[in-house]
Subunit: 459 residues, 3 copies
């Protein structure tokens, strides 16, 4: 069987966080999620994840991917190191297995890379294959030393001979083993070193000593080896992941003007000829149809039709038909359905409402818990008063109705087709077809009041 | 005569779009616009543009620049390739002409580069001059091979000898011909190759064969050769163009804090000591005077005076005098004139209105179709009710008037100087100088109602 | 004594600005501020700043750091150059002093670099030490020439021999002198050159001629030498400074998703596990507690508790307790105190108000000069009418009160606990506990009015 061990017990004190390292998120998902997702897609028969102090917090997500969980002891005095974490998985591995060992904090590895790596390992009939990469700046990574192109050894940074030249091929710390090679080498590692740490890397030299065929596979894409140790790494990995995803979207026909400030959920469906500009977040299972343009907006679980234009707005859990224009500065809250050709203007909020074809709410209004017909005009300052202090009620507004400025519609109330509600009215009773409804006192003008009151200002 | 042929018939299937490639936009203008604009500025006597399936969509913009249009057949079985596209222009070219051939999808070439390139061609008395560039990563471009510094040939990527070293000097595919050299070589090209494609590049080898003097001119600025094949290219070209334009603006004395998220129309006039910060779009023929600061805003066809401060706002087709403060979250719609020292605050919209010196609308208001005097106070929630369901009317508010909160001004209505409108009033009749106007019922307090209604909550 | 001379008299015509170069700001502070701040922190006994035409404008900030100011003459015909500017400080320096000479337009030098540089100078017992750096692109900087690793001379760009190879080690123009070496060399410089300019660099060759021990110290961090000559330099320095600061914040446990568009005042306190996303400005002495998330917002002099979530908002000079949610599109103006669990929603403004635990203002409201109790519901469109045309008054709203939609609260007015204000009412008189208050006319429905008025539209 093809098995994967994911070592995810490390706490990551350099993250400076209450949260365990592998639970930190990039692109909206925990590090461990990204890895398990890639490993899952690569088609392993069994995944074993090693957790530690983060067992309770990380267990659920790990099990969601069908991984077995092994808990590494973390009491003071417990043995530690990547080698120890791998060793406690020995019982899960048989001699005939193929085994990938990787880490919970290298979130950029993708299923394609794993597949290519595994194919290489198989085709070369290797016993152990190191995943390596060529880096411009190899930093503190251990280096791969080759002789006539053949893998010879891994030299750690601290053991590098200053008089020798080393290539920029680094050890990612990710290894593929034949089960037997793993079992024979992992028992030999020890903590006989200054840090008293069991190191998985030691299996490589041990394997060579036991005459196993050890080799290194150079990943095409060098960022797959990037690991997270602090927040800057987290940021750099997020950048790399988002750049990769946005490039795919661009190639698929989506125009992204500012990819470095655009986040698109991998589950979103964005059709050809959609344009995204400025700070854009598209979260969840959103769908955006061809020809729509989104600027500086947050879109969460939305279905947006063709040729819509959404500017500087925040929209959640709603459906928008074709040719709708929102914003700037609109808010669409959950449960709304906006029919085609409707217009939601500046400082307008709509929530849990149906808004009919060609209807308009141009400015400063709140439409909540309402069913609004076609070609309705919602004036500026209109409030659908849906809450009476105890519970919420719905309002119905018929086709072609005219709701004057600053009108309050106190729900439950029904406004029939073509009704006209005068500006400033608070409407508590139903209004029938073609009726005018007005709630207003008489305007009184009191001459000279401003002078008497001492408010007069000279021009 | 100095003539240019622009080959713009390609559809660009990798764009994944309903739109023809050359009509895709960068920095708000189609690719073909950028090219024609540079060619126009470089002072050609005649421009000939070859269009294909995009003839109907692209014709207008091409003719706007005074270019002749030639339609390339695109029926199944029609010959194709850059060579064929150039060949159908033969009748337009005479032996005495100088001829530039370029493409509709390389939008970064500028008039200065064309001029330098042409001068080189003339000064060297070349018959054919290839435009080349040195690229860090030459990708799939054909390479220029030189012998003792002299141009020898172009080697296509697929024909490169893996045992030879090639320089990073690439063929842009852009050529300058003496008319005779063009006419003599273009007739010789054929489609005798696996793709059955007429290739313009073949003229170079043919020209050498005919003992014409062929040379290559290395462009100073390597990005001028960047072409667009997919959306990522479109994005990269847009970045390069915007960076170039923003650098010019910075050198001219404009402070741009976030150039990668700032777009300024080349037609805009931005004076020294203007500051731009965050996501800024300045569109159309806007003018921004010295000392003004624009943050996270969209400015379209605006004239903005000195020392204004505009934050998180969207402003169109209006005039703003000196020292005006907008936002955050203000909306200026077309036809407005805001006098000096006025203040438009958060969640305020103004449309087609004059707003006098020192007047204030601090919060949550809509001023539409109005003439507002000096030192007027527009309260929160005020609505200028300009639409009666049939047509729009204007409102006049005199100097020093005080418009109370949530007041509706039902147009047409005139409020004279120093008038005071009480909060919550709907004003339908004119109010004279120094008068108080109030439309309000009596406040009734009904004790114990909350308890009887079951709404009382324990503290 | 350890003294620093800062040469800050240059006008910087390439800035294209009314403002003197050293007064241009990066990261919200003038260039000269950054330098004086670093010099101050590095612990000098005395700072001498040379100003020129900018004397009146720059004097205050220079003296704020306790620097002596020397005014360089700038009349036509006055001698000029860095050498002359240093020379007029001669009287301030004695033979026993140690002296650093630097510039008002190299804002990236930090106290740590100065300390390391000074320690090197001392430890090597140098008479003169040049601050150098290794640059990828040395541009027009003068180059350090060494012989067997020992400093030999500085060669200016214009004097470089095209047949010789020069290293990328450049002269920053910053020097450390023993007082005697300074006094002995500075008197020797002259303006016997085509530009008639006294050049400080000449002291180096003169010092070598006088057998002083001259050496160069290579700065670890090459950006410390970046100087500002035009707005692009200003932008590049700002980028470098912000990147440096944001990296520190990340390492300290703050998650910054878009560091290139995030500005954090060095005086701000940001705890671990705070997340910043999008365009974020944190200005002044703000405090943000652990677990809070800020998106696309401006935060100025705010104290923000734990686990708050602030989206697309602008907040100033206020205190926010734990677990408060703002936005999108909220405005917090100075003097507000928002208790824990409160919610301020879209298009809501709060100013100079206390807002109690668990109270909500969900949409389109203005709360100004108010004391609002616990669990209060502020309806949509509510206005706290705090201004009567003459002065501002306060409003009190008791616990559990319900303020209906579009209500005006005309201050001064007191609404007691559990009171209920009906939608659309203008409240001018106090309302007692558990009372309903309503100010409203009767709703009149006039059948057929829409048809008679000609407003009926066919469905």
């Amino acid at each position: 069987m093809f098995k994967a061990i994911i070592l995810a017990a490390g706490e990551g004190t350099r993250m400076k966080s209450k949260k365990s390292k592998v639970l930190h998120e990039i692109a909206g998902k925990p590090l461990i999620y990204h890895i398990l997702n890639s490993v899952k897609k690569a088609g392993f028969d069994e995944i074993i994840t090693v957790l530690g102090r983060n067992y309770n917090d990380a267990k659920e997500i790990v099990e969601y991917f069908g991984s077995k969980v092994i808990k590494q002891p973390h009491e003071p005095g417990s043995p530690y190191g990547t080698g120890y974490a791998a060793k406690i998985c020995m019982d899960e591995i048989s001699e005939e297995d193929d085994l990938l060992i990787m880490y919970g904090d290298t979130p950029l590895i993708d299923d394609k890379t794993i597949e290519n790596y595994f194919n290489y390992h198989k085709n070369c009939a290797n016993d152990i294959t190191v995943l390596s990469a060529i880096l411009d700046d190899p930093k503190d990574y251990g280096r791969i030393v080759r002789e006539d192109g053949e893998f010879k050894e891994i030299v750690e940074k601290k053991n590098m001979d200053p008089n020798l030249f080393y290539s920029n091929e680094i050890n990612s710390g990710i290894y593929l083993f034949k089960g037997k090679a793993f079992l024979d080498t992992i028992v030999e590692i020890n903590d006989d070193n200054p840090k008293k740490e069991y190191m998985l890397t030691d299996t490589i030299a041990i394997g060579r000593g036991l005459s196993y065929k050890v080799d290194a596979y150079i990943s095409d894409n060098h960022d797959v080896v990037l690991g997270v140790n602090d927040r800057e790494d987290l940021y750099l990995c997020e950048c790399a992941l988002i750049a990769r995803e946005n490039k795919k979207r661009m190639i698929s026909g989506v125009m992204i003007h500012n990819p470095e400030s655009t986040y698109i959920d991998p589950d979103a469906i964005i059709e050809e000829d959609v344009e995204l500009s400025g700070f854009v977040k598209i979260i969840g299972k959103s769908i955006i149809r061809s020809g729509s343009m989104i600027e500086n907006s947050t879109i969460c679980n939305m279905t947006i039709g063709e040729n819509c234009h959404i500017i500087n707005s925040t929209c959640e859990d709603s459906v928008v038909e074709d040719g709708v224009k929102f914003g700037p500065y609109s808010r669409i809250r959950p449960g709304s359905h906006i029919a085609s050709g409707a217009k939601i203007g500046n400082f307008v909020e709509i929530k849990n409402s149906n808004f009919g074809e060609g209807s308009k709410a141009g400015h400063l209004a709140y439409i909540g818990d309402a069913d609004v017909g076609r070609d309705v005009n919602i004036g500026c300052g209109v409030v659908f008063v849906n809450y009476d202090g105890k519970k919420k009620h719905r309002t119905t507004v018929g086709d072609h109705a005219f709701v004057g400025s600053n009108v309050n519609l106190v729900a439950p109330v029904v406004i029939e087709d073509n009704a006209f509600l005068a500006a400033g009215s608070t409407i508590t009773k139903d209004v029938s077809k073609d009726a005018l409804s007005i709630e207003r006192g008489e305007q009184k003008n009191i001459d000279g009041w401003v002078i008497r009151r001492g408010l007069h200002k000279e021009l």
